[in-house]
Symmetry: C2
Subunit: 211 residues, 2 copies
DNA sequence: ATTATCTATAGATCTATAGATAATGC
DNA sequence: ATTATCTATAGATCTATAGATAATGC
């Protein structure tokens, strides 16, 4: 259920709040250390929820963490979608997508750290950026702007490079991240077949403003 | 110590064998599930080593798994090095490196599965492929074959894309992996500034044979 | 009356260590 | 004599559940 119906009554709202508190706690833990061997007790404490409540909502720790990743992916996808709303050129969309994602490491650190830890298994997921990016790749191929034989391979390269960029930020925090993101965006466009000078130009255009 | 001295006497050989058995077990576990919450007891059992021996060699589970990743990285670096021994052109080295890595998913599945689970944090490591790849990038830049402004960003893109390619194999096992690796190699060369037709040509050259 | 949450706890599991055993060095 | 390995175990921790409590629906 992409957008589940809002809770009908107070009972269901309370239940949803407990569930959401657990997911939030799991997201925090995934962002901080990524160490999922933390005890269920510790998770419940962090969520400020009774220990036994955990089992009303999740079968196991793994199930909770999986849900937490999906939650972060969805939020990530929505945020990028909003910022790219008015952008039509697939080359611009790809370049902006890379740079906006890097910028989100500052503005939405929790989401991006979750993805840094768990994103590799979700590059071709139905959630998050992948379906949007795949659409852009196909549009670009159709219009002749991109020349790639296999969109899935290109999407792998895009997603993997983006994760590596997030990781680089973590290991070299002093680096100019806006500049690094522009360089990466330029590389991605060249990879997709955009001429070098044009790739450089597009990668340096000002980012679209918020909604 | 990249290549530590060989054990001097039988005592030290026995000790080294126990340590290596634990590392092997950890590598297997990292390759199979990547789930490091497995008990030390289970690790020792798998290594066919007494439980208490673990603490003669490692301070904690995390320390063992870290060593296991480094062990796999070193073996990976050596294997690729051997196959690329006679290749001088940096463009060929990059393209072959990508394709050989993909091929190693079949010939050395344990190593590549370990890297798939843990490689993201080691893209800029001193061990493994990174120092070699960085050298190729610099050589290529110096000779004008590559046009990249920042080698670290290019290395991130290369490493991340490679990990994503390994992940893709896992999720789409029916795909022709040799063909996928060629496509990825072609994308990487274009990204680095090699003209599209040349990139395509290089990515389709026969791989260098074993030693 | 129903349902989720919370507290308490039994049983299982896990870690770290102590002490006995076995193998090698000199 | 020295050193690593192995076995046994104490103490801590963790999971899953049972039963009591609190909140809401009708």
């Amino acid at each position: 259920m992409p957008t589940s119906a809002p809770p009908a009554n107070r009972f269901e709202r309370r239940r949803a709040a407990t569930r959401q508190a657990l997911i939030r706690a799991a997201r925090q833990i995934l962002a901080e250390t990524g160490d999922t061997s933390v005890s269920i007790q510790a998770i419940a404490d962090r969520a400020d929820v009774g220990f036994g409540s955990f089992y009303n909502h999740f079968e196991s720790k793994a199930a909770l963490f999986d849900e937490a990743v999906i939650d972060a992916l969805d939020e990530y996808g929505r945020a990028i979608d909003e910022r790219l709303a008015g952008v039509d050129d697939p080359a611009e969309r790809v370049a902006f997508g890379v740079r906006l994602s890097a910028a989100m490491a500052d503005t939405h650190p929790e989401i991006m750290r979750v993805l840094r830890h768990r994103g590799l298994g979700h590059i071709h997921s139905e959630r998050g950026l992948s379906p949007r990016a795949l659409g852009d790749l196909e549009t670009g191929k159709a219009s002749g702007r991109f020349t790639v034989s296999d969109s899935a391979i290109a999407l792998s390269a895009l997603g993997g490079s983006l994760l590596a960029l997030l990781d680089l930020r973590l290991h070299q925090p002093r680096r100019d991240s806006e500049e690094a993101a522009r360089s990466m965006a330029e590389l991605m466009l060249r990879m997709l077949g955009v001429p070098a000078d044009e790739a450089r130009d597009i990668a340096h255009r000002p980012l679209p403003a918020h909604g």
